[in-house]
């Protein structure tokens, strides 16, 4: 159970004009500026639920995850995860939690993954039986058995991410934070990670928060999404509802002899519009689709939800 109440995190920065002159000026007088990474957010997540956190760079996704993982202290507001205040860093909490950051490695670079795992076994006090069982299960499902004895820095990015996932899941966490786990991976590696997380979620039912810029991840894994913009939540609800809410439009992709273009039209005007197109152009191909999730999310992030 995650319960977040009115959580706020602000940073004070000072503004510096460019150049040496600006630097000298900032030595004497500094214009302080408070920036809100999170501005009074509320969130409830039940055990077994997986939530996709979506937002532009700097919207506050990572800050929220870092507060919930106990790395950063909030400025104000409350949050409990499994009944613990994360930033108090209770060992009982930290033993049940896992964080995976696509851009920061947790396994030792110069050592084979198995060495790192042994250290993690010690850190999390995993008993031999569970350790062996989990190692077996994870390396089988991720199909990475042979690479575990090779120094991590010699692995490909995709293999490294799999190793990171293993490292994060050895201790059977009940809460998992996945911060852009698929970043930089090629399509097939992305797919493998996604498939794995999907099955893992079904089988072990942890609380999971996932951030990703790849909509495929979100679509595949998260029935519920939270959209965050400038430190505030602009949407918290089911993914399909967003689709329905803004899904009254259809997208027409038209290929004529001269050009290719896309047109977004309300469902009700569909037949009139298509007729028009056929009358005015020499159509080679015409496609009618739902707008993509990317388009919808982008429009929400730009314009808000608008009238319901």
């Amino acid at each position: 159970m995650i319960n977040v109440q009115n959580l706020t995190k602000s940073f004070t920065t000072h503004v510096k004009e460019p150049g040496l002159k600006g630097s000298l000026k900032s030595l004497i007088k500094r214009d302080k500026k408070t920036k809100f990474a999170l501005n009074g957010v509320n969130l409830q997540i039940k055990q077994g639920e997986i939530v996709g956190l979506i937002g532009a760079n700097g919207a506050g996704k990572t800050t929220l995850i870092k507060i919930l993982a106990g790395i950063v202290h909030p400025t104000s507001g409350e949050a409990t995860v499994l009944g613990y205040k994360p930033w108090q860093r209770d060992n009982r909490y930290r033993k049940q939690m896992s964080l995976i950051m696509g851009q920061k490695a947790q396994v030792w670079w110069d050592l084979p993954a198995l060495d790192s795992f042994i250290l993690l076994k010690e850190i999390y006090q995993i008993d031999n039986f569970t350790y062996k069982k989990n190692l077996e299960f994870l390396s089988d499902t991720l199909m990475i058995k042979d690479q575990l004895k090779i120094q991590v820095r010699r692995l490909s990015l995709g293999e490294r991410m799999k190793v990171e996932l293993m490292a994060a899941l050895l201790h059977n966490p009940r809460v998992i934070f996945l911060d852009e786990p698929t970043i930089g991976l090629d399509i097939s590696a992305q797919k493998a990670v996604r498939e794995f997380m999907k099955n893992y979620q079904v089988e072990f039912k942890p609380i999971t928060i996932l951030t990703s810029h790849y909509m495929a991840d979100i679509q595949e894994l998260c029935p519920r999404i939270v959209i965050i913009k400038e430190g505030q939540f602009v949407y918290d609800g089911s993914l399909s509802k967003v689709q329905r809410m803004l899904g009254d439009n259809k997208v027409l992709s038209v290929t004529t002899e001269k050009e290719i273009f896309q047109l977004e039209v309300p469902r009700t005007e569909l037949s009139i519009k298509t007729k028009e197109i056929f009358e005015n152009h020499n159509v080679l191909d015409l496609n009618i689709q739902d707008p993509s999730i990317e388009n919808i999310i982008e429009s929400i992030m730009r314009n808000g939800l608008g009238p319901p």
Partner: protein, 262 residues
């Protein structure tokens, strides 16, 4: 506690297997260390060419002190130095994240995980010289004295560690590259001189504020001279104070840790 010892053995294992890969570095270190030791010993040998007594000690006694601070230095080089080198970078670059989420004291983790297997021979040489000096020492002493001397020197290493941490931890607020570590290294030389040469405000500075004189000189006095209660209380107060202060600043620093975003 047992778990922490087991963890430390893992750190040792990793460090040695890593060090094996870089043999050139290994031999360089040995040469550097031999030069460092020779310079330190010669420095005092030269002084004693001109005077029979310095700060109340003759050459024979001084070598006990020299071997003491070389031991503290070697302990620091092998156990803490690599970790201390990286710590400010970790703080600035937001690399503390993975240490903060583990159910293990992050302070333990961050200050001990990189054992400098390369400097291990340095430690061996320091122990060798320490034994040699004791062997050469003409004054009276028994096993208990040696035991206590080593104990006080270990305590001195802890003070050294805390002082160094206190110079690094401001990085949490300043985000400068190295904190005041350079200041620490230049003032750290104060450890390598007998404390009696410090008078007046310098004495206050080096026995209380930056207690370098307490690190190795006080222990040597316990060994060389009759037991002095005042010195003992002084050592205990400084130890407890600097350790608590370091923990306090560490905690405050973590609260201020902003974890530069990826």
């Amino acid at each position: 506690m047992k778990r922490y010892i087991r963890l430390y053995f893992h750190f040792l294992r990793f460090s040695f297997s890593k060090a094996m890969e870089f043999r050139l570095d290994f031999s360089f270190r040995i040469i550097m260390d031999i030069i460092y030791y020779t310079v330190n010993i010669l420095f005092f040998k030269v002084i004693y060419l001109h005077t029979p007594m310095l700060a109340g000690w003759n050459e024979n006694q001084m070598m006990i002190f020299v071997s003491g601070y070389l031991l503290v230095d070697a302990i620091n080089m092998t156990i803490f130095s690599t970790n201390m080198w990286w710590l400010p970078y970790y703080i600035n670059k937001g690399e503390l994240d993975y240490y903060l989420i583990r159910p293990v004291s992050p302070l333990f983790f961050l200050s001990l995980k990189e054992f400098s297997a390369n400097s291990f021979l340095n430690l061996m040489m320091a122990i060798g010289f320490f034994t040699y000096s004791l062997n050469q020492y003409t004054g009276p002493f028994d096993t208990l004295d040696i035991f206590l001397y080593v104990l006080f020197l270990l305590n001195g290493s802890m003070i050294y560690f805390c002082t160094q941490m206190l110079m690094i931890l401001p990085v949490f607020w300043t985000h400068s590259a190295r904190g005041f570590v350079d200041l620490f290294y230049s003032l750290g030389l104060a450890m390598e001189r007998p404390d009696r040469i410090y008078k007046g405000w310098l004495r206050v500075l080096f026995t209380f504020i930056l207690p370098f004189a307490v690190i190795a000189s006080f222990p040597a006095r316990f060994f060389l001279e009759p037991f002095d209660w005042k010195l003992f209380v002084h050592t205990a107060v400084v130890t407890v104070f600097i350790w608590s202060l370091m923990l306090f600043v560490w905690k405050k620093g973590l609260q201020n840790y902003s974890s530069a975003s990826s």
